[in-house]
Symmetry: C2
Subunit: 213 residues, 2 copies
Amino acid sequence: MQPFRILIVDDHAHAREGIRDILEEYEDFIIVGEGTNGQEAIELTEKLMPDIVLMDIGMPVMDGLEATKQIKLQFPYVKIVVITVSDDITDLFDALKKGAQGYLLKNLQSEVWYDYLRAFALDEVPMSKEIAFQILKEFPQETSIKKLDTPLSARELEVLQLVAKGLSNRDISAQLFISEHTVKSHLKNILSKLHLENRVQLTSYAFQNGLMN
Amino acid sequence: MQPFRILIVDDHAHAREGIRDILEEYEDFIIVGEGTNGQEAIELTEKLMPDIVLMDIGMPVMDGLEATKQIKLQFPYVKIVVITVSDDITDLFDALKKGAQGYLLKNLQSEVWYDYLRAFALDEVPMSKEIAFQILKEFPQETSIKKLDTPLSARELEVLQLVAKGLSNRDISAQLFISEHTVKSHLKNILSKLHLENRVQLTSYAFQNGLMN
DNA sequence: GTACTAATCACCCTTAAGAGTGATTTCTCT
DNA sequence: AGAGAAATCACTCTTAAGGGTGATTAGTAC
């Protein structure tokens, strides 16, 4: 079987080295290139067409989340695994939202990396958001997942539906007899809870999840 | 039967007089109040709770379209007929979009007014957008309905779907390999053709009309 | 060959949106 | 009584959105 072609993107040279050391232990993987920022990630992906991109998040010029989004838009078949350190798992949802299929912590044993990436390359890891939770449980380091995934309050649902109808914040404030500030505040919390980033995505979400009648 | 309670809103005194003269010919109608701008329209609607509001469009302080929107949001059961002069029928769609149920031209015969308003009050005039067209045909004064209601081009549909997915104009431009200017241009045309005013309403429209799969 | 349209790009301008931060009040749960 | 959540409002700041206007190119229709 052909080895899996892997592109490493991380702005820290020693981080790339660490990953390289791990992957070179196994014949299943071949590192086809290395990049140091999101911009390079896009260019190298286009040039090298790797099977998997290992993408760091915090990088200069263009960060890994933006690069992930761009790459998935242009090359949907390229798989992206976001790599991060153990203490900022909060980015997990953002990464999946941008189109990443996988999520790995830099400070795991090399055997874990191997098992995970191999399964991943063979499509044996359908990395959905549900499974992401399970993975999190297996690494019980206290993460800073705050008040995410709390259910929406009644008021928030009300605001959500008005947003999805196409009303502006001002219109909503007029209808609910509250200030526009408050509407913005509710909307901010709604977007945060649902891991969305703007009212259009919220509208799309509302329709796809049967919240509009 | 109780006469229908009517509120007249128009900034021109002589326009209100003209309407008053017409309506006072008939016992079916009683004029419960008169306003001169959109702000007054809202206040008077709340105070008087008329059956029908006859609403002019071009007015100072707050125009009739905005007032129509506000009133329909707060008092959905109040019927609104937008009144206008014959040469700016282009506002028709906007008025219906804001929630107006009817549309009357100021310079019609009083009998036409009577027949229309009576039928309207009795819910015998389901003033949909389709019927609006028919009414337009009956008043064949050459109106300035431009290139409205043209079908969307393939490219426009493509942009529409990306918008409804929640992508920003910049994201769309990157994916379609065109400039952000062009995306904006397409979007502008799309909104114009569909008589919508922002990307959220477009998203809503897309889902409700089965344009998303 | 000319008229029409789709698609592209550009510039200006105003307002809406959204992030960040923080504060107050009321209610509930324990 | 005290903790926590929900709802409210406020201020700042940056960027996205959208309207208005206009121009070019290429393809199509008649």
